[in-house]
């Protein structure tokens, strides 16, 4: 397990100056030039991310919908061919197995996009849960390369490379088409809070597609962007990251993801426990904060109330290059979530100002 996995773009990253780090067992670029500059590029122009480390799974068969309704918390009956749904899947105790996207290709044919660090665990979990349903779960992760083009100029850039009319693919919808001559699933989704696309293509075509996008990107201000900017962009947009805001010990209700938990669709894995949590109130809460200070409040920093008692801990923290102050999330006791919260950074007490994300004005369609 000590040898990191590589995506089909590994050589591409190295050729283009990517600073490579280990991320969830993958050798990935944390940055090319500067995390802060890459972050700003995505908010102002556009960025190209390699997200080929993400996992993909096919769920196919007559019972596919029934199985997904059992597996995930959101209501997959909202789907139709070409529509995408964001959801989580939970354990019976309510903790999160993973968050994922569900793509409906046909009523009996779905593609799931899951987190890189969770692929083996998720596939095993889904296969176990699929017992008794007439459908198959197949890990397709090695077959796909996935590129994300994100930012206000992303659509105009990708449109120069495809005959597919991108205006017809709305947010959280997808189509099939060719981009730079490469057959792709064109998904209008992302993890930055900006407009943009995630392109799924054959793994062998990934590096060529990346080169073609990069070559066409100049007039659109395209920047190569790494996982560092991906993390600060998602936090600034208010999106959870598995292992931080959601874990096997943090339920979707605790994480503020009640909007993807649909009790009216009927029972699903975890629904009994989650229903009780909803009725009785969560004992803990994920809160989003800013500090009006540039000192980063890092994960695992204890969070105290006004009396100095520890009431929680920081789970994500970074500097927002857009509002120019520290932002983050903390898991705190629900009873303390409305009270003044304080952290200690190298001897300085800093007040957390609780906010409803996003932290920056976003222009996604």
């Amino acid at each position: 397990m000590s040898v990191p996995q590589v995506t089909p773009l590994n050589a591409f990253h190295r050729q283009h100056g990517g600073r490579m780090v280990d991320f969830a067992g993958w050798d990935m670029p944390v940055q090319y030039r500067s995390i802060l500059e890459e972050h700003k590029a995505v908010r102002q122009r556009c960025g190209l991310f390699d997200v080929s480390h993400m996992g993909e799974a096919d769920v196919q068969g007559p019972d596919a919908l029934k199985f997904l309704q059992h597996l995930v918390t959101n209501d997959c009956r909202k789907l139709f061919p070409g529509r995408i749904l964001y959801t989580v899947m939970c354990y019976p105790h309510g903790g999160v197995v993973d968050d994922l996207l569900v793509y409906m290709r046909a009523p009996d044919d779905y593609l799931l996009c899951i987190n890189a660090g969770n692929i083996a665990k998720d596939i095993a979990w889904m296969k176990e849960q699929a017992q008794g349903f007439n459908c198959s779960v197949v890990d397709r992760s090695p077959d796909y390369a996935q590129l994300a083009i994100q930012g206000p100029t992303a659509a105009a850039l990708v449109q120069t490379l495809t005959l597919t009319n991108l205006a017809e693919i709305k947010y959280y919808h997808f189509g099939q088409g060719e981009v730079a001559g490469v057959k792709c699933l064109i998904s209008r989704t992302g993890y930055t809070g900006e407009d943009g696309f995630e392109l799924y293509c054959d793994a062998t075509a990934g590096a060529g597609l990346a080169e073609a996008i990069l070559a066409a990107g100049g007039p659109f201000g395209l920047e190569l962007t790494g996982l560092g900017a991906r993390d600060s962009l998602r936090l600034e947009a208010g999106f959870p990251l598995y292992g931080h805001e959601i874990t096997d010990q943090i339920t979707p209700l605790t994480a503020g993801l009640g909007w993807v938990v649909k009790f009216d669709k009927g029972p699903f894995v975890g629904s009994a426990v989650l229903q009780r949590e909803k009725a009785e109130g969560s004992t803990q809460k994920i809160v989003y904060f800013k500090t009006n200070d540039r000192r980063i409040v890092r994960a695992e920093t204890p969070v105290c109330d006004a009396a100095g008692l520890v009431v929680g801990r920081v789970v994500s923290g970074t500097l927002s290059p857009i509002i120019n102050e520290a932002i983050g999330t903390a898991l705190v006791a629900a009873t303390a979530a409305a009270a003044p919260l304080v952290v200690d950074i190298r001897g300085t007490k800093i007040n957390l100002q609780l906010v409803k994300p996003p932290f920056a004005t976003l222009k996604k369609n």
Partner: protein, 127 residues
């Protein structure tokens, strides 16, 4: 390749010093150090008048990645700190040897500077 100017003296902890004609020294962190830290987001500096011992922590340089202590390469009294870095700490990334200087010291013992590495030796140190 990191930039290691020939006219400066260096500490193994990646600070540079430049001695002026009046015997004061200017201190900052090296190009190698700023590149290793990545995007610098905050710099905590000592107060003017603070008395520093050689090897003493004089501040903290924080990047997106981590917070790191910075050390006084030589003993002295803080004469000035670079106020520009409060609002624009990224100057240390952009120009570590010029606009990104951190503090000026009056040396306690002017000969101390001779104990520091020259450019060739610091270059070997960062290999």
């Amino acid at each position: 390749m990191s930039n290691v100017p020939a006219d400066l003296r260096y500490a193994k902890t990646h600070e540079w010093t430049q001695v002026a004609a009046d015997g004061t020294v200017t201190i900052g962190i090296t190009d190698y150090a700023q590149n290793s830290l990545g995007d610098i987001t905050y710099i905590q500096m000592p107060k003017v008048g603070a008395v520093l011992k050689a090897g003493q922590t004089f501040g903290v340089v924080e990047s997106v990645k981590a917070a790191s202590d910075v050390y006084a390469p030589v003993a002295g009294t803080v004469l000035a700190v670079n106020q520009l870095l409060e609002a624009t700490p990224e100057k240390v990334n952009q120009a570590p040897y010029t606009d990104g200087w951190m503090l000026k010291l009056t040396l306690a013992n002017p000969a101390d500077v001779n104990t520091l590495l020259n450019a060739a030796d610091y270059g070997k140190h960062i290999g």
